[in-house]
């Protein structure tokens, strides 16, 4: 196990390196000028070539690419994520730190809610296999996995605004400052994510439970005369649920993916909304660092999933 963990950890280093290079290349080498945002379309401010050159110089964009790249990576390692182009009032790092709790909370609640919804549905469906209950839950699961989360979010917000004059707070609220406001901000998107996530959990827990129920040792346990419920809890459940736990990684991936559109639909000031705002404003430095953040989180989620798999299934360690 130890060697596997070390090997797997070492593997993330080239991956992270590749991620930084990939982002940097996309942002700098492909067409599209990071300076596009400094003019103002509404006011028709057009920079002269000298002004553009001066601005490029001020931002360090006239240096060779590899130096820019090394500079960027060095800054990140120091924890300095820079500033938006001309706005130095709020460092990017502060903005991300401020918004991260909101998104983290959404993701966390999303996973929890998925379990709360998905697990019972999966277990009941497996126990009552091929009954009406099973069919209904399977239809629900299939639909739940296909429904776009941003659409659900939009429908939800329209309903709450029209009927209850309510929508999630548009300013960041921290759970330790104002728990009630913070919950209002994070529970609705988490509930939206729980539809897809819950469906995934229900489907997988049902499948693994059925598989386990067919295993020999369960049959043996039953043959020994153990009560049905005891068999379920002591043997089947434990063995069925552990693999499903690793699904939370997959789910987190889904939430990270869906976060941009759902936060946009609900107007929640999280990292996803920050990304779409940055893209709208061509805020190159914010995009670059935010995408990197998403990448790094995702790499570590994958790492955690792999390690969890290895812990649960010893075969993987020796592959």
């Amino acid at each position: 196990m130890q060697t596997y963990v070390i090997r797997r950890l070492l593997l993330t280093i080239p991956t992270l390196f590749g991620v930084t290079v990939f982002i940097f290349l996309i942002m700098r080498v492909l067409p599209g000028d990071p300076l596009a945002s400094t003019g103002d379309a509404q006011r028709m401010i057009i920079l002269t070539e000298e002004q553009t050159a001066a601005a490029r110089k001020a931002l360090g964009l006239d240096r060779p690419l590899y130096i820019q790249y090394l500079d960027w990576v060095a800054d990140i390692l120091k924890g300095d994520l820079g500033y938006s182009f001309f706005r130095t009032e709020e460092p990017i790092r502060e903005m991300l730190q401020r918004r991260a709790p909101v998104s983290t909370q959404i993701a966390f609640f999303g996973v929890i809610f998925s379990w709360i919804i998905g697990l019972p549905v999966g277990i009941i469906a497996a126990m009552r296999r091929n009954t009406l209950l099973d069919y209904v839950s399977r239809v629900g699961v299939t639909v739940g996995m296909a429904v776009p989360s941003f659409w659900v979010a939009l429908t939800l917000i329209i309903v709450t605004v029209i009927f209850f004059q309510w929508k999630p707070p548009i300013e960041v609220a921290f759970i330790w400052d104002d728990p009630w406001k913070s919950l209002q901000q994070t529970v609705p998107p988490a509930a939206v994510f729980a539809i897809g996530g819950g469906a995934l959990i229900a489907r997988m827990s049902r499948a693994t439970l059925l598989e386990v129920l067919n295993e020999d040792y369960i049959r043996t346990a039953r043959a020994k005369g153990l009560m049905n419920r005891a068999v379920l809890w002591r043997h089947a459940f434990k063995n069925a649920v552990l693999p499903v736990i690793t699904l939370s990684g997959l789910q987190l991936a889904g939430i990270l993916s869906g976060m941009v559109a759902v936060e946009r639909a609900l107007g929640i000031p999280g990292l996803g909304f920050a990304l779409i705002n940055a893209i709208d404003q061509r805020d190159w430095m914010v995009i670059q660092n935010l995408v990197l953040l998403f990448g790094v989180i995702y790499v570590f989620v994958n790492l955690a999933v792999d390690l969890a798999y290895a812990w649960i299934d010893p075969r993987i360690r020796y592959r």
Binding site: G32, L154, T155
Partner: protein
């Protein structure tokens, strides 16, 4: 195939059609045997594809025609799904939107899975440093949540049908490549490949005759599932205003337009495109599941 009926030599064509029907019917019946929901979804998909192919004939109105006397009209007999803020028929736009969604999905998945297939087979078969490099590259692509990667690619590429296809193709590559590679790897280690090598078959022949065909089934499965994902990604990108440019109707954009422009978008502007996305993705998911059961009997029953 069916639209060729009007060509001369009708009888010959009819025979051909009957024959082609026969060749189609057999697998479909067998598919129904192994996965009834998948087969039903396949039938639904056939309808969706037909709608996409004949969108302009089926749509009751021109999807771009604006009726200025009927802005934001609620659903009626003549406009079953209402009209949008410039008086375009929502039903017609959804029907024509089918074409855009499916076009993007099929082309991008074909490209992405195609590249992934070649990548997977070659890295799996050749192995060694080449494989290692290929794997690390895949790791990089797999280090982003798929939609973030698509958004990142859309920034420099700019909006457009072609760029959306390209971005979705790129995010499709790694999953397909990884799956195909693992199959190729196990096939390469099988005895009959060793046998082929022993009798002096060239690498090219081994790949084409032995390895690639074995990887075909997993490729088909992942392609079908990716089709649903591609429709979803296209809808999300368009919703965020980063996808298909107007005036082509796109489901995601129809939802996004109602968000941007108007508060209390009339419900029909939001609900119907969402239903269209859900149904299509649902069908692709079901067909994908069914196909997996059908083509890979080891998995049968496991994920029903």
């Amino acid at each position: 195939m069916m639209e060729e009926q009007s060509s001369p030599g009708g009888r010959h064509v009819v025979t051909a059609v009957v024959n082609s029907c026969k060749t189609f019917v057999g697998p479909v019946v067998r598919f129904y045997g192994s996965s009834p929901p998948g087969a039903i979804a396949l039938a639904l998909l056939a309808i969706v594809v037909t709608i996409a192919l004949f969108a302009n004939q089926i749509a009751p109105y021109d999807a771009l025609h604006t009726d200025f006397t009927n802005l934001k009209g609620s659903p009626t007999v003549s406009h079953p799904m209402g009209t949008d803020i410039v008086g375009r028929d929502v039903l017609s736009r959804i029907i024509v939107g089918t074409r855009v969604s499916l076009l993007v999905a099929f082309v991008s998945v074909a490209m992405g899975v195609g590249v992934g297939f070649v990548w997977g087979v070659s890295t799996g078969f050749i192995g060694g440093k080449f494989d290692l490099l290929g794997q690390r590259l895949l790791d990089v692509l797999l280090s982003f949540p798929s939609l973030i990667l698509a958004l990142l690619l859309m920034i420099p590429l700019g909006r457009g049908l072609g760029t959306v296809v390209l971005a979705i193709a790129v995010i499709t590559v790694p999953g397909a490549a990884r799956l195909v590679r693992s199959t190729a790897l196990s096939v390469t280690q099988m005895a009959y490949v060793d046998g082929a090598r022993a009798i002096g078959a060239s690498s090219k022949r081994i790949i084409v005759r032995h390895v690639a065909p074995q990887c075909f089934a997993p490729m088909m499965i992942i392609a079908t599932i990716d089709l649903g994902g591609a429709i979803f990604t296209e809808a999300t990108l368009s919703f965020l205003g980063m996808g298909i440019p107007p005036p082509n109707p796109s489901w995601g954009r129809m939802i996004g337009a109602s968000l941007q422009g108007m508060f209390t978008p009339p419900w029909w502007l939001v609900i119907y495109p969402g239903v269209a996305i859900t149904l299509t993705v649902l069908c692709f998911n079901l067909v994908g599941d069914g196909l997996r059961d059908h083509l890979d009997p080891r998995l049968r029953g496991k994920l029903d």
